[in-house]
Symmetry: D2
């Protein structure tokens, strides 16, 4: 069922950032094409919610790590729904903190497949048509690990560091061809039941309570920022932006630690 | 004349970024309080344009380099107009490329007074009331020189490097008190008649023509991004964002230079 | 033939950085264990040169992209030669500038295998013994692409960005266990016949002539910096350092381009 | 008393980094010219120690914040001792953590005078002769605050952020003229009795004990790195390098905080 609306494609459309971005773009007049790995019922629910709100949406399951999967998704979307105006690559690769010896080769490789290679494959499949049309947007959800490697993050940081540099090379080649690429450094925890919620399980509510009022990013708020980025005219494009809750220490600051604060912190 | 609207204070309200931000915030329901160093007629024109568009605005001349000037502006604005909800520090310190020997001590010092010290003075004067109210926003127009020092930019880069680090220290202390600080790296030239226009003089139109279609930032587009930042809820604040035209090489990339491109550029 | 000398292992021991580092460490009292992918004669020549200069060295061919190869090299070296005191990961992944459509999936994957995954595998295999001994050093040759993604560098920059973040996660886990990890951003071309020389072929000499006197990094000079890093006591470790010729523009600066210089470069 | 040795000028020659650098360069064949603000006895002691070790040194008191002081020092040194081959700008501006309201205007300005402006003045006075000779080195001791602004560091971070960008602009103009500029990010506390020692007073020994074995930078070790930088040939110059003790968390990493570690630290 082709649409006359511009198409917004989300890879990684869970109930957090991906789902809220889909809803925001649908509210803004886009057809939202949602793709996620599993949970057909959850996917159908997101599509229904968008439709009930008067928007246009469709969904599909996708194993992004599989050869050809992203490529076919792009092809099917362009052919059956319409030209992709904006895509959001929203697949994470966070597996929690693991010591090096608890990070097997295959785990490290999977991090790269989802964190770096999948984004390369999406660009590879999607950019030729966008470049021909002279316009398009690719939003990339990224993480603190893209700008600094923290303890236990071997797999995640290597994948996200590659992701960030790849966004810069893609921007260098394709911005002058009309494709806007934005790398979003999400530097705080997100109220996302399908990712952080599953990782924390029964501790999710306690965690959010501990973070305090507005201490966790509302994915609807972040979706508003994604929407803004997608609407910037080409004379004023943002390539990199960060976001975090007001109470979170940014990645470049220490967590305050009164014990070792010697008045003038010696290392500042 | 006190207002019941939230107040948006702009320091550096010329016909470029400052004036367009004022217009955007006025359109969004703010009273825009404009301050600039000179050109009373130009200032009156900006205020009139906002009022003719149905907005609320007022203007004042200000020598920000003078002791007490920013402090009195904050005090008068809070007392006579209303609590400052959002302020934009929009004073630049760009003086063009100058070799070290053509950069006298007083020039370097003036760069610091406008580029770094004025921002410190604004925060010093304005944050106590904002912190007491538990809310407020300070937007800071910044430049490429805040993230890298380029040839001939001794005065500007030292001032902007200080500005960027100051924004981070202010954020560390005041974000948890409810004050949103955003450092905007404007990494391209802006269609601003009062700054770039005056610097280039008769060459301004030729310069814009050379940059091509959408090759110069439209200050109205940038104002839209400022507006977005000011509306982010506190669970999802951006501290740093960049912006440039689609055809501009970002600061971290070389200008393409085919002569020395050896296939695989050796230093990549 | 076990040695009583501390062992310096080089992966990527060509006639450039790797070979010169081996010679420098051998001169400093280490046994240099050289590994490279091909050219047995070239490898033998490097070993002989070191021995003729009175040093101790051995060599082996190694396909680092192959499963188990790095792991066996580490095992054999520790068992047959001696405990590895310092290792240099010197494999590059530069393939020259290629547009996205000229960068096949397998090319991008090979970049990651050599640029990121091989380093992970080396740390995985080598760090347990170093951590048990409470000391060791891993030097990592890196590139401009580790800190910024330039046009045409999709494969290389993604690999090097991952490499840099991985060095940071390794440092976070292993520095407190006594392992010194140093990430060296080589931000200029190196007078390396086996890599840049092969890439440029007949143009290599012309390229060096064009760069002017001292316009290309002498790998012996860089080896001296590697040596210095390896000798830093643990109270004063460097994690990141850059290096380039005096006449090279650092990665964060534009190449000077007088045509678009408008006096004050607008975007500074 | 002119010398035939190359001259090493240290501004900020206390018993920590400055004094040890002077000793290291004297041992390497330089005449060390030491300048510091106060403590004539301490200065004489440093000079004596160098001379007793067989080196050549001289000392002078200097109020670097005073107009003309640095300029006259450079002039006197060049005229009375000899051409400055290498200078170390070692003045800090750390005043401890202070809330914004406890940071008066004059404190912020003094931070800039010592942290940024003094370096500009040194370059202004010293570089013309170096450029004419086509060679020279300026080493700059810098701090964590040059790369990130931490809480309470308003004055220090603004000064150091300016310092770092200034080093980059100076490098852009003067590296191609043969002047090597190195910005050293000292990202850990230094065993420096005249600065950290005075700041911590009676708690200095307890602080060092708490940091553990090799937990504080030995200024003699750092001086060795300064020496190495000064000896790099111009085909292989380092512009930026960091240093910290093995047990210190680098500036880009969190202090470990088990309470909020949720397995996968959500914000990584």
């Amino acid at each position: 069922m082709p649409t006359r609306k511009p198409v917004f494609l989300v890879i990684g459309a869970g109930a957090g950032i991906g789902g809220h971005a889909a809803a925001r773009f649908a509210a803004g007049g886009y057809h939202a094409a949602l793709a996620r790995r599993s949970d057909e019922a959850g996917l159908a629910r997101l599509v229904s919610q968008i439709e009930e709100a008067g928007g246009s949406a469709s969904g599909t399951l996708l194993n992004a790590a599989e050869d050809g999967s992203i490529e076919q998704l792009v092809e099917r979307t362009e052919r059956d729904i319409g030209p992709i105006d904006c895509a959001l690559y929203n697949l994470g690769a966070q597996i929690g903190n693991r010591a090096l010896q608890d990070t097997p080769h295959r785990t490290f490789e999977l991090g790269w497949r989802l964190g770096t290679f999948g984004l390369f494959r999406l660009a590879h499949a999607m950019f030729p048509a966008m470049a021909e049309r002279g316009k398009g947007t690719m939003l990339v959800t990224s993480a603190t690990s893209a700008v600094r490697g923290n303890a236990g993050q071997h797999s995640h940081a290597a994948a996200m560091g590659g992701r960030r540099m790849l966004c810069q090379t893609l921007n260098a080649e394709f911005a002058p061809q009309g494709i806007h690429i934005a790398h979003v450094v999400v530097d705080g925890s997100v109220d996302a039941p399908d990712t952080l919620g599953k990782m924390l399980g029964d501790n999710f509510e306690a965690y959010k309570a501990m973070k305090g009022e507005d201490g966790v990013i509302d994915p609807a708020a972040l979706a508003e920022t994604y929407w803004h980025l997608s609407q910037q005219p080409r004379n004023c494009w943002t390539h990199e932006i960060d976001a975090r809750p007001w109470t979170d220490t940014p990645w470049w600051n220490d967590n305050p630690n009164p014990q070792i604060n010697t008045g003038g912190k010696p290392k500042d």
